[in-house]
Amino acid sequence: MSRIGVFVCHCGENISRTVDVERVARAAEKISGVAYACDYKYMCSDPGQNLLKKAVSEHNLDGIVVAACSPRMHEKTFRKAADAAGLNPYLVEMANIREHCSWVHEDKEEATAKATEIVTMLVERVKMNRKLQPITVPVTKRALIIGGGIAGIQAALDIADCGHQVVLVERDPSIGGHMAQLSETFPTLDCSQCIMTPKMVDAANHPNITLHTYSEVENVEGYIGNFQVTIRKKARSVDMDKCTGCGVCMAKCPQKKIPNAFDKNLGMRSAIYVPFPQAVPNTPVIDRENCTWFKSGKCGVCQKVCGPGAVDFTQEDQLIVESIGAIVVATGFELYSINEKPKGSAIKGYGEFGHGKIPDVIDGMTFERLASASGPTGGKIVRPSDGKEPKQIVFVQCVGSRAREKGISYCSKICCMYTAKHTMLYHHKVHDGQAYVFFMDARTPGKGYDEFWRRSIEEEQAVYIRGAVSRLYEKGDKIVVMGSDISLGIQVEIEADMVVLATAVQPRTGAELLAQKLGISYDGYNFYSEAHAKLRPVECATAGVYLAGACQGPKDIPDTVSQASAAAAKVMTLFSKDKLEREPIVAKVREAGCVACFYCKKVCPYGAVEEKEIRDRQGNLIKVVAYVNPGVCGGCGTCQATCPSKSVELDGYTDEQIIAQIEAL
């Protein structure tokens, strides 16, 4: 027979005011299997805990019920105490007679009776509790960072500086991401490239960082501490070891009229190219779609002029497999386009703004390239259509964002600030120009942000018009902006030379495909979901995968860098031990009963269930069964409720424990 100890707490008067704690303790003594019961003023105090520890040895207890507050409050306290007394901590249960009883009832008789029943239920439960040991999983101390923008670079540098190996994968030929495209940054107006490129170089030169540019994650297997990641290194057609980055190939390439996406197609590049002069690595890549050699088999000029003989037309995509312990996803964002969207798409374009067909209606990133000193115009702000300097410029905020009718209801967070920055840059470069901004509200929380915004109005002469724009249309070489000024209650029309739309921040196209490979969840817009909006904002629900930057939601640079460092800290925490230890509330398969229907696998939200073969000593297959990877299992127990033969069982919440509790009714 069990030897259970029941400890009833008065909680000062919090419990004893409405529950006759002594009677509860006396009643507990009569429950079968109870060997000791007592009550005490403050069970969680040191003397209270000592009472419990003493009773464990004196009465040789094999289970404990503490009838006190919610387990959410003190379960850990009492489990620790039991552990100290030599009793497995998982043989301790809390009977919640405070939050669920004394505080919510007034009648002492009723509350006492209820408290007694609660205690009985927990006594029956604890009899069925098993000793559990924390689970340990080996950890490979190498991190994978997906995305080489500022988020990925920051996370990579932090982890690498801590002495761990990092594999950084970037889809484009160069790392740098969006930050490399920006001109100046708010709220300090320092040059983006000036602060970004040193970090890029640091990342490339760091002995602990392996850089895979022009590469993509192909497949992810495994679980926290033990991922196997397949990376596709796309054929660059240039041998990275041989190339010296001299740039002769680019200069001699006859195909020079290819719009450069890095410059938002404002500038041109050759078929063999680096996206921008400060690219890291500074090794060109051949754009096979536009290369004459790949199109017609003729040309080959770049190969001929390359001194070290680095150009290699025969290169093929390469698949490499890396063992990884933790993954930071930092895939960033892209900007919404106002172009027509496919029929049936939840997200709509802007026909009223000309569906992107008016050449001098541009988005914020295009303006960044125009304003950038290293951009296609050398920092001169001109109209894409005719190269004239715009004298009247209109900025429109919240294009796509906060527009439920267009399919996006969220705020893109960065536009208010960068638009304010744009008005300043414009004013600095076009002294006789006038900037107008149509806005809903100015959202400027952040250090120095509101001051910055006010500066754009008060010192840089931007005219802010509170209201929406209903239509943009061309009139001669002007663009008529029809809008409303709701402060004055009037219609406004401005004949502008150029219009800059602050379009919404969206996840990368195909973000959901990467999420599916990683087994992480994403929201209706395809932003990746954090495990908890407030308390676990950088972790995914899938253990071992962390988020950094705008792939999780719109973010500015400081926030992105903070989150990247936070993700790095999480990774470093994981890497701080050789083995990962976690609560043993995980599911286990009873292999004898398992018939491999894999209902558990079908419902597991974590992908923790694997197929396992059981073989005899000769190696003959006896049967296939389910196996729950304890490193991955989240402990929800959906598998057990679904298993027809109850051959998978969640430790800590076994059928035995639950049935015993129900039967105590």
Binding site: E340, K348, Y350, G351, E352, G354, H355, E405, R471, Y473, E474, K475, V480, M482
Partner: protein, 295 residues
């Protein structure tokens, strides 16, 4: 008796088409006759409630439309609607009633009948461009409107709000342009195709109308249009009847005929011009049509 018609519709003309927009009704009938599309008017139809009812009493506005839809069940074929305002009201009512059980119950109570509101409601444009088809329409053209530069004016109701009428893209539609080019005319590209003409204020605040409709006329002229084509009797009233006032206020002369889409198409398909009501327009289109050798 077997019908000779290629398609058949029930027809809701709406109040305007029996009054100030008579030419729209007449030309519609002529056009459909020449295309062999049957139109049978819904018996006993009532006002759709446009434009003020929905601002004042939602239940009334929904009930009026629900009643009309119920009445339309007596006649076979999808419901053809000419007036953009009627079209908008009927579509909006269907949309709102579909979405809300509560409203459906209220309207059923108000009408004291089971709701019968599922009949597809189609604007004439939709019938011509989709059901009948542009190719067939092109084939039916006997008198191509060659050389006529037309500014297609949608007004604010025909395509909006985005998910309700589903006639075409709400903000950048092309259906009118596609229809009129099928008849041989040239559609000009202009800015004010979807701007409001001020119809709601036509009696209460004519100043607003003069401003808004003035911009529309201005934009059409700037684009080099010979005339404006409309699909709504209210727009027509503002642009045609008030054109003189607008000219006076702006100290300019537009002399831009405002024609119903059906007038132009009927003309192209060979209907007798005398039956199309050209002579009852305030800004006479006859000189223009003669100049272009279309009469």
């Amino acid at each position: 008796m077997p019908t000779k018609n290629l398609l058949n519709y029930s027809y809701y003309p709406g109040c305007s088409l029996h009054a100030s927009g008579k030419e729209y009704d007449e030309s519609t009938k002529e056009l459909f006759k020449s295309l062999r599309i049957g139109l049978k008017e819904v018996p006993d139809w009532i006002c759709c409630g446009a434009t003020p009812a929905h601002n004042v009493d939602e239940l009334l506005s929904l009930s009026l439309c629900a009643k009309n839809l119920e009445l339309s069940e007596q006649v076979e074929g999808d419901l053809a609607v000419a007036c953009a305002a009627c079209f908008s009201r009927l579509k909006t009512a269907q949309h709102k009633l579909e979405e809300s059980d509560e409203k459906r119950k209220q309207v059923a109570y108000a009408l004291d009948a089971e709701l019968a509101i599922d009949k597809p409601v189609k604007h004439l444009l939709e019938i011509l461009a989709k059901d009948y088809g542009l190719e067939r329409l092109g084939e039916a053209v006997k008198n191509p409107l060659a050389g006529l530069k037309v500014a297609c004016y949608y007004g604010c109701l025909l395509t909006r709000p985005a998910d309700v009428p589903q006639l075409d893209c709400a903000e950048a539609p092309t259906i009118m342009e596609r229809v009129i080019t099928a008849a041989g005319a040239e559609a000009v590209s202009w800015s004010h195709r979807l701007e409001c003409c001020g119809a709601n204020f036509t009696l209460s605040r004519p100043g607003v109308v003069i401003n808004l409709s003035g911009q529309i006329l201005e934009s059409a002229r700037r684009a080099g249009a010979d005339c404006i084509m409309v699909a709504c009797p209210l727009c027509h009233a503002n642009l045609d009847i008030r054109q003189k006032e607008i000219e006076e206020a702006g100290d300019t002369i537009y002399n831009l005929p405002v024609l119903y889409m059906t007038q132009l198409l009927a003309l192209a398909t060979g209907a007798a011009p005398s039956k199309l009501g050209f002579d009852s327009m305030i800004v006479s289109p006859l000189p223009l049509l003669k100049e272009k050798n279309l009469l």
